[in-house]
Symmetry: C2
Subunit: 211 residues, 2 copies
DNA sequence: GTATGTGAACCACTTCACAGCA
DNA sequence: TGCTGTGAAGTGGTTCACATAC
């Protein structure tokens, strides 16, 4: 199987997955690239090309079986299983993340939470006892978590990420507003709503130009 | 001035801005594209090319004056002013957004919050009285908010977005996990942490391939 | 007849490499 | 000498268009 799948393609697969899951809930059995593309704002050719990196899932003249394609995508993305995650940073943002109900239905579960603040360590938050970051090295082996969520202040984010990498974490969802560094075998996704706002203001700042 | 600036370029400017602001706080006066690129994981040529769309801000042999470049970028992005935003959806997620302390320092202020739930309407949250979405049309003209944040359940997100567009909103930060539609003159940014997780699992699912 | 899968053509962004300026 | 600004070259992703299969 191919080693040369563009990263943008991988980034689109979860979107397809999300749309297919919706179609399935709506009771649809079959969908074609045209309709799927229309719903997502993506060209039909794009969808067909993206899928073709992984196999031939459609039927000419008909389209794609929703259930089948959804299963294939789950397989491809590695989301047939549950994934355990650890959270570092249990401040306001961290608590919101712990309370976010969008992870569990998709198979992502936060199994431990860490903080530096001694006033917070020991607290029960959403059914989890907050542990000290000092214990990270000790606790991680038992947790079997390859994914971490970082919700600490910008100033401490890089050191936390370094520590997590040291513990063998392979994917990081970073909420701190910094450009984080990690070895090439560790994936990082940054979530910073302000960046999105700041790029949108460019376009609206004065009856501005539409793309 | 050019009408043909790639959207990817615009998306990078806030990152440059963030890094320059940090440099400024650290007391640095000058930076060259090499160092800035190193910090951000971007090639120096990329930075120079991106900036060249907007003008000539550097000095040969020296680099860029941090303060000057920062000001230019603020100007370009339209973030010299404050921006007012409205929030729709004051559930768990909405409350977390209201409490998020990352917006204000960057000049983004939530000036009103709306919800459908009569049990929530009237509540004071973070100093704002929650209004009914039914009042959206009435309230919006006074608020002078061109940006909206959507934090309602997926099932209601599109109708809320339609209503906001109707009210003249020009940019939407969408936290609902759907592919939202809007007219071309309205910008949308989606924030869905699950999509990020699902694309990362592709790479880590079994001692997986690094990019 | 209809919609997929895919090489080929196209387009857009990135990187190169060097002239030009401090 | 050192680093920017930028045409030109290169690269990679998107779209086209049609043979293929149902």
């Amino acid at each position: 199987m191919a080693l040369e799948i563009p990263e943008v393609v991988i980034d689109r697969l979860p979107i397809y997955t999300r749309a297919l899951a919706l179609l399935q809930r709506q009771g649809r059995n079959v969908v074609n690239s045209q309709e799927l593309g229309g719903r997502l704002g993506v060209t039909p050719a794009q969808i067909r090309k993206d899928l073709s990196y992984f196999g031939r899932f459609g039927k000419q003249g008909r389209g794609y079986n929703v259930k089948r394609l959804l299963e294939e995508l789950h397989q491809i993305l590695g989301i047939t299983r549950e994934w355990s995650m650890v959270l570092v940073g249990v401040g306001q943002l961290g608590r919101a993340i712990l309370g976010y109900d969008g992870f569990a239905p998709q198979g992502f579960r936060i199994v431990a939470a860490f903080d530096v603040d001694p006033d917070i360590v020991g607290d029960m938050v959403n059914g989890l006892e907050v542990k000290s970051v000092a214990q990270l090295q000790d606790e991680m082996p038992d947790l079997d978590a390859q994914i971490a969520i970082v919700a600490v202040p910008a100033a401490n984010a890089q050191e936390v990420i370094d520590a997590l990498v040291e513990c063998g974490v392979k994917a990081i969802l970073n909420y701190a507003p910094i450009a984080a560094h990690a070895p090439p075998d560790v994936r990082i996704r940054d979530i910073d709503p302000v960046l999105g706002l700041q790029s949108m203001t460019f376009y609206i700042k004065e009856g501005g130009t539409t793309s």
